[in-house]
Every structure is written in structure tokens, then in C-alpha cells.
């Protein structure tokens, strides 16, 4: 049914360099959330902190009453069984073929017989479209296949929380669309909490229920998709619409001169908010909201042309 992740006042630095500070957010149970941010803002570090691979300096991460940031090693290994994680490169075990890779968590954590394991593995391999490749070694397949195999392995224990690191890096646009559709279908099917870390704008605009934006060592905003897509906040607006005008520069933050130079430039109007991806079988997800619902409830007028069925995919202006 999915589990809520409550992050409170989290900070992490490497040596004297602060990665991000004071991050507080609640990732709602069973919903799809996306964490965005310019390159190098510590999105992957945030993900690793959530699974307890990196200890944050301050703050807490509560999952089912356990604080990941301060619990014992034993509790950590227990709570991690709730997680499925898809690493950037799939992180497949190089010495095992794909079948053994996907079967690995089952063999370690369950008492299933080999034939039961085979059934589960084949079902997950089918889900990610890798039937026929189960005897290949990770070194023999393309990056996209490794990623899908990693997803199959992450799904095999029926996780409550699925953390996904850059699903679109190294994938072509078609495969990216397929994998995004797969996330939505999976969410409809298993109701897990999804957190996707990415900087692909199209994914961010169409997939999630919630969007978060990490920028300049803090969490700039976290909230429902429509709230961020209709936001006038310069950083959010610039990033979600992939523009050069705004506070984000090539090296993280623009200096005073650059900001002065574009003082008179108006930010282009907000592009229309696209419809959210729907499960391919047409049955709405449990956490799905009605298009435009948030805008209406909060008295925000969405940009003209929003939620139009004819424009389902547009990237920024």
C-alpha cells in the first residue's frame, strides 16, 4: 500500500562543503514524486541518504516509525527490505547473469523453491520487456537493458517504496516514454511510494503527483505537480520550463552582473500544464488527482491551454 517518508531538517556536507541543508518534506504514501535539481545539487546524495547509504549530519528520516538517520545497522537492514532501488547504471552484479541477478533478493530473503523463484523472476522480466535475455551477463547488454534489468530486480520483493535514480539517463526518448508509462502502470498495480530523481523536464512535467526542486543547497519547493508547474517563483519557473532567463546560471547561481544584465528581460509566459500520464489500462490510480483540481482548490488560474487533451506532451517555452 506504500509507505510515507517523512524527512525533517536534513543536512549533509562532505568535509566543509555543504551539499544541502534544512531539507524538510513528506513524500506521501502511494504517490509518485519527482526530485528535480540542476546537475551537482546532490540529488543522488539525497537518494542515498534516504536508503541509509550515507549518514546525514543532522535531521531525521522517518519511515514506519524508524529513523533511518540514527537507527542501528540491524534495523537499517530490516527496513531496507521495504525498498526497491534502481541505480543509475542498474548496478547489476557483474558475475551473475540477468536471471540470477533478479533472483538474488528472492534467494537471499525468501524460502521460495527454485520453480517459484523462476515464476516470479520471469513475471518481472516480462514486465520490463527482457524475456529472452535472462542468460546474458550484464556486461553483454546495453545500458538501457541494464537499467530495465535493475528495475526488475528492484521490483522482485514487491517493495513499498521504489527509489529511482535518473531513469532517463542514457535512454532514447521512446524508451524513456515507455519506462515512464511503466512507472505509472506499476504505481497503479502495486501502490508503492515512488521517488524518481531526474533532470528530464518532460518526465517531471507529465509523470509525478508531486514535484520537489533542490537548488542552491536547499529544497526550493516541494508540492503537488500543478502547484510547481503554475508557480511564479523564479527558480522553479526557470527550471521547469528549461529557460536561460532566471536565477540559475551555468555555474549554479548567476552573479550580480548577469542578473543586472537580464533585469529588463521578462520571463516568458508559463507554458500550459500538460495532462498527467494515465495508467495504460485506463483505470485511475488510487493517488491520481483530477486534472486542474489543485489549481481550482487553491484559486490559481492555470496557464491558458492547460489540461488540453490535444497537447499531452510539451516541453518548456
Amino acid at each position: 500500500m506504500g509507505v510515507e517518508i517523512k524527512v525533517d531538517n536534513l543536512s549533509k556536507s562532505f568535509g566543509k562543503q555543504l551539499i544541502w541543508g534544512d531539507v524538510s518534506l513528506t513524500i506521501p504514501a502511494g504517490e509518485v514524486s519527482v526530485m528535480l535539481g540542476p546537475s551537482g545539487t546532490g540529488k543522488s546524495v539525497f537518494l542515498k541518504a534516504l536508503i541509509g547509504l550515507l549518514k546525514p549530519d543532522t535531521g531525521s528520516i522517518l519511515i514506519e516509525g524508524t529513523d533511518i538517520a540514527s537507527c542501528s545497522e540491524k534495523d537499517l537492514y530490516a527496513i531496507r527490505k521495504l525498498f526497491g532501488v534502481l541505480f543509475q547504471d542498474g548496478a547489476m552484479f557483474g558475475s551473475m547473469n540477468l536471471f540470477d541477478n533478479v533472483a538474488f533478493p528472492l534467494r537471499e530473503h525468501t524460502k521460495k523453491t527454485e520453480s517459484q523463484i523462476r515464476d516470479v523472476v520471469m513475471e518481472k522480466m516480462d514486465l520490463v520487456g527482457l524475456i529472452g535475455a535472462e542468460d546474458k551477463l550484464p556486461g553483454e547488454i546495453s545500458g538501457g537493458m541494464r537499467k530495465r534489468a535493475g528495475l526488475a530486480r528492484a521490483l522482485v520483493l514487491d517493495p513499498e517504496i521504489l527509489l529511482i535514480d535518473e531513469p532517463d539517463s542514457g535512454l532514447d526518448p521512446v524508451r524513456t516514454s515507455f519506462i515512464n508509462q511503466l512507472f505509472i502502470d506499476l504505481n497503479a498495480q502495486i501502490d508503492a511510494t515512488f521517488l524518481i530523481v531526474t533532470h528530464d523536464i518532460n518526465t517531471a512535467r507529465t509523470v509525478p503527483d508531486n514535484i520537489g526542486l533542490l537548488y542552491h543547497k536547499h529544497l526550493a519547493m516541494f508540492g503537488p505537480r500543478e502547484m510547481l508547474l503554475s508557480s511564479e517563483e523564479p527558480v522553479v519557473r526557470q527550471f521547469l520550463n528549461a529557460q536561460t532567463v532566471g536565477p540559475i546560471g551555468m555555474s549554479e547561481e548567476k552573479d550580480a552582473d548577469e542578473l543586472e544584465a537580464e533585469k529588463d528581460l521578462d520571463m516568458p509566459p508559463l507554458p500550459p500544464i500538460p495532462l498527467q500520464l494515465e495508467p495504460s489500462n485506463g483505470i485511475p490510480r488510487r493517488s491520481q488527482r483530477e486534472p486542474g483540481g489543485w489549481c481550482r482548490d487553491n484559486g490559481v488560474t492555470p496557464p491558458p491551454g492547460s489540461f488540453d487533451h490535444k497537447m499531452s506532451m510539451t516541453t518548456g517555452g
Binding site: V85, P105, H109
Partner: protein, 261 residues
């Protein structure tokens, strides 16, 4: 300024502490069940296969060199009949464990560090932890035990091959007599020599494997980091092995009285 200097000076202490803590984690992992028998056997087989032939090839000239050097010296003293004792002192007590440890650290340790380092930078170890499996229990403990086991047997191999090599050189090239060689051998050799050689081999195997695993699991910075980790693991384990060898030899000489008569 002073704090920067202090942190630089103290950095090696921190590394040593982390290495020791890692060793304790491994010790704790030893008692966690289930024991990874399959991994242990695979690793033991792998380590044996990369070390047996080089060890034998190192042991023969090692025994021969000791026979040549000591034989020449002893001849000048006019005590040829004691050449056999040189073999036991040098080969069984010192050369056996040292040659073993150098090969374990050089061949097996570098392979382990490279393997774990590659897994670390490919995020395999992270993935394993996320899947709820402790890599120390799953990967490191079997490797450490395999290294100790193979070191133990390699030490036996070096002792046998080294003593045999010394015998051949002494008898064939230096005109020693087989009887004198064997007689002087048994005159000074005692069973504790063999025990301490075995204990040394076990300890050296442990150190080499722990250092290699620690360095491999802490590799960082892409493929170059793996190379650095391998390099550092070999250098550090060599240094540690020689220091530990000295200490253990000193303790042994204090504890076990030399055989007389």
C-alpha cells in the same frame, strides 16, 4: 593553519583506526549466519590457483639462495655440517611465512582489491546493501577466511619446497653430505618452529585480506580509484606484514627456548 597541519598529520591515524574498525566488523561478521560456504570455496580455489605456482617458483630459488649464502659463510667457519640448520631457521621460521604473505598480498590481495573496488564503483556494493545484504558478511568474510586457509597451506608448500631446494643445492653444488644436512636439521629444528610458521601464515593471510578488502570497498573516484586502491592495498599490506613479522619473531624467540644438543 595549525588545524590544517594537525589534520594532515593525524590523517594516517584516522585511516589506521578505520582499518582496525573494519577488521572488527569482519570479526563480527564471522559469526553471522548463514555462512557463505559457496563463496568461501570459490574464493579459496581462486586464491590457490593464482598463488600456488608463483609461490613454488619463488620458494625454490629462495631456499637455494639461502643455501648458497649461508653455505659459503659456514664453510669459512669450518662448520659445513651445520648448513642444514640454516635451512630450518631461515626457511621454516622466516622465509616460508614471508614468501607466502608476499604472494598472498601481491597476487590474491591485489585481485581482491580490484574485484571489490570495481564492484564499489559500479555501485554493486550499494545495491547489495540496499537489497538488505551485508557485503562484509557476504563478500569479505569468505575472502578473509579463504586467504587465511590458502596462506596456511602455501606456508607448508614453501617450507617443503624451500627445504628441499636447499638440500639439493647443498648436496649437489656445495658438496655437502646428505647425512650432515639432515642431522644438523634435526639438531636445531623443533616442532614450535613449524607452529609459529603456521601461525604467522594465518595472521599474514588475515592482514593481507583485511587490507585488500578495506581498500577495495573504499575505492572512490571512478576506474582510476580502483587502480589506486589496488596499489595502496599492496603497499600497505607489505609494510604491515614486515612489521608484524618482526614483532612475532621477537615474541617467538622470547617464548620458545632454542633447542640445545
Amino acid at each position: 593553519m595549525s588545524s590544517i597541519t594537525a589534520s594532515r598529520v593525524l590523517a594516517p591515524v584516522g585511516t589506521a583506526g578505520k582499518l582496525f574498525a573494519f577488521g572488527l566488523d569482519v570479526a563480527r561478521g564471522l559469526f553471522k549466519r548463514p555462512f557463505q560456504m559457496r563463496e568461501f570455496l570459490q574464493q579459496a580455489w581462486f586464491i590457490a590457483s593464482v598463488t600456488i605456482i608463483p609461490t613454488a617458483l619463488v620458494a625454490i630459488p629462495f631456499g637455494a639462495v639461502i643455501a648458497l649464502q649461508v653455505g659459503g659463510l659456514i664453510k669459512q667457519f669450518g662448520a659445513q655440517s651445520f648448513t642444514g640448520s640454516a635451512a630450518v631457521l631461515a626457511v621454516v621460521r622466516e622465509a616460508g611465512p614471508i614468501a607466502t604473505s608476499l604472494l598472498i598480498a601481491g597476487a590474491a590481495g591485489s585481485a581482491i582489491a580490484a574485484d571489490l573496488g570495481a564492484r564499489k564503483i559500479r555501485e554493486e556494493l550499494d545495491a547489495m546493501m540496499v537489497l538488505g545484504i551485508d557485503p562484509i558478511q557476504r563478500l569479505v568474510v569468505p575472502r578473509v577466511l579463504a586467504c587465511m586457509l590458502v596462506a596456511f597451506f602455501l606456508n607448508g608448500l614453501v617450507s617443503v619446497v624451500g627445504v628441499a631446494g636447499g638440500y639439493v643445492f647443498n648436496v649437489v653444488l656445495q658438496d655437502g653430505t646428505p647425512g650432515a644436512y639432515l642431522a644438523s636439521f634435526t639438531a636445531l629444528a623443533q616442532l614450535p618452529d613449524l607452529w609459529q610458521g603456521m601461525v604467522k601464515a594465518l595472521v599474514f593471510g588475515l592482514i593481507a585480506a583485511v587490507v585488500a578488502c578495506y581498500k577495495g570497498m573504499n575505492a572512490a573516484g571512478g576506474p582510476k580509484g580502483v587502480g589506486d586502491a589496488v596499489n595502496e592495498s599492496v603497499v600497505i599490506s607489505f609494510m604491515l606484514l614486515f612489521v608484524v613479522n618482526f614483532v612475532m619473531s621477537a615474541i617467538y624467540i622470547q617464548l620458545v627456548p632454542p633447542k640445545t644438543g
